[in-house]
């Protein structure tokens, strides 16, 4: 197993420069008041394709050989990663096939198609997307682009943390939503090197808290039949192998939030940060607002990972208060 290093994050930063949006750090008087500290928000919902995923995807595709570029890429993704690979592929002139569950939000399927990718829908109740994608790759020679358990993907996602460290004062803690753990692992690489005293935390939905459990036990826990959550971007049942090997050496622990706390965080972001967040994108903010992280008198960083949410659902959440 080859683990990416800080040098890979730096290389990734060079590849994505001028391609992705250099997102700022947002501040809010109300958020600071609620936290009793200073909170710095990295809004990757503002990123191209509406999520941080373009960082890893563009880094991975940029590093393909000429031969690999000609044959194209295939990715399996419930949404944001698929959009990112499709967009990166189009930008680099590479063909892309995206394998998506038929149950994914319509907005994500549509957007992925709009970037020119070939979409293969599958039935998540009956088929395994990874098996499907590998079968396609075997047949076509396309390179599989994993959504998190890949050194280039991890290094690419870590570029967001480089920017946070550059823009924020010394952070006492940094909170990162975790699905497969790729963004968290990339963040570990950056913080270990540049700000090793900052404590890193994963944030997850309560029912999909495989990272929280895994950090507590020291081993990769696999969930069995978790209860449903609105956080459709955070559904992996277990941490990635590569990502966990990195995360376990530096992450302090995991925080889990309820769907109700996620909705409250989405409304808070609307009102006070003026950004659109998807449920999975708001779990780190929910962790701070719910008081599950000690923020009193501290400098806290958190990342909003995406904003791809259907208008009708978002309107419902706004109306709920």
């Amino acid at each position: 197993m080859i683990l990416p290093t800080f040098a890979d994050v730096e290389k990734a930063a060079g590849r994505i420069e001028g391609v992705v949006i250099r997102t700022p750090l947002l501040r809010s008087v109300e958020l600071d008041r609620r936290a009793g500290g200073k909170v710095f928000v990295k809004p990757e919902c503002l990123q191209l394709t509406g999520a941080f995923k373009i960082r890893g995807a563009f880094n991975r595709l940029s590093a393909l050989s000429e031969e690999q570029r000609k044959k194209g890429v295939v990715a399996f993704s419930s949404g944001n990663h698929g959009q990112a690979v499709a967009y990166a592929a189009k930008t680099l002139g590479v063909a892309a096939t995206i394998v998506m569950p038929g149950t994914a939000p319509a907005i994500k399927i549509e957007k992925t198609r709009s970037h020119g990718a070939k979409i293969v829908l599958y039935d998540p109740e009956k088929e395994d997307r990874e098996v499907l994608a590998r079968a396609i790759a075997d047949k076509t020679g396309e390179t599989v682009v994993p959504s998190y358990d890949d050194p280039f993907i991890i290094a690419g996602q870590g570029t967001s943390a480089l920017e946070v460290i550059e823009d924020a004062p010394k952070l006492d803690a940094y909170i990162v939503p975790a699905g497969g753990g790729g963004l968290l692992a990339g963040s570990v690489l950056a913080f270990e090197e540049l700000s090793p005293k900052t404590r890193l935390y994963s944030a997850e939905p309560e029912s999909y808290n495989d990272h929280q459990q895994s950090f507590a036990t020291g081993e990769r826990v696999r969930l069995e039949n978790p209860a449903p959550t609105i956080c459709d971007a955070l559904l992996p049942l277990t941490p990635g192998e590569i990502t966990f090997a990195i995360n376990r050496r530096h992450v302090t622990g995991g925080v889990a939030v309820s769907d109700g706390e996620v909705c409250a965080a989405m409304r808070f972001a609307f009102e006070n940060l003026k950004i659109v967040t998807e449920p999975g994108g708001a779990v780190a903010l929910a962790a701070v607002l719910s008081g599950k992280i000690d923020t009193r008198g501290k400098n806290i960083g958190l990342i909003i990972t995406g904003g791809n949410v259907e208008a009708a659902f978002f309107a419902e959440i706004l109306a709920k208060r």
Copy 2:
């Protein structure tokens, strides 16, 4: 009449550095497709207090004498300017009184109060806010902070344009929402000096198109009983005296959009830029999306001026499509 100059914008940039958020330029594949060109969006809804107004307010208050600071400030504002003055005053340790119409959106009144300002509500049907504010100032010795017709306010707002010019490639056009014309005038000062070939346009609601009419006739037109608009941030009936003296020498013309086009732009910004825009904040985006500006093959810049909109109203707009 003393007109501010480019040097005043530069001085303002020095004063606000590290205080306000350095907002990025956002891009969207879908927006470029719709425009047939490249569009660069300055999202000042992400700014502290949810609007660009903090730039001018902080610049004005920073320049007060010690004597003036002790006596405090008074501002009359339908919302965003009031919030900005209240926030700037708190940051600088100055007392602030904000005179607001009782009809202003509740969210704006609440937020202004939350920054520690004293709020005086008035009845816009019966009282003149400017007369009221000056009466208060005469009694208390507080300095009146106008919302647009002031050299410091104009210079402060112009700092947003400095950032746009720094971040974007050479722009063929730059579109700015106009209420009193302060942001537009500050932008003129920056573009005249740094990018004189960029054409500047004002954007307004159709019924409150006093800038469009004034640019067409060359004189400040005052509207009589305009039809209502949802753009509550853009209700001045005539361009400012100082602002128009600056704007007339460099602005190419005005664009006016319907409330329906504004709603469509707000939905578009939700879906494709993941930002929350208030109606008046979205008129420049509406100008591009409605095809009222020639964008084919061009580099176009536009500014989203604010995001202070009530959740229930925003939910309604999302549900409309």
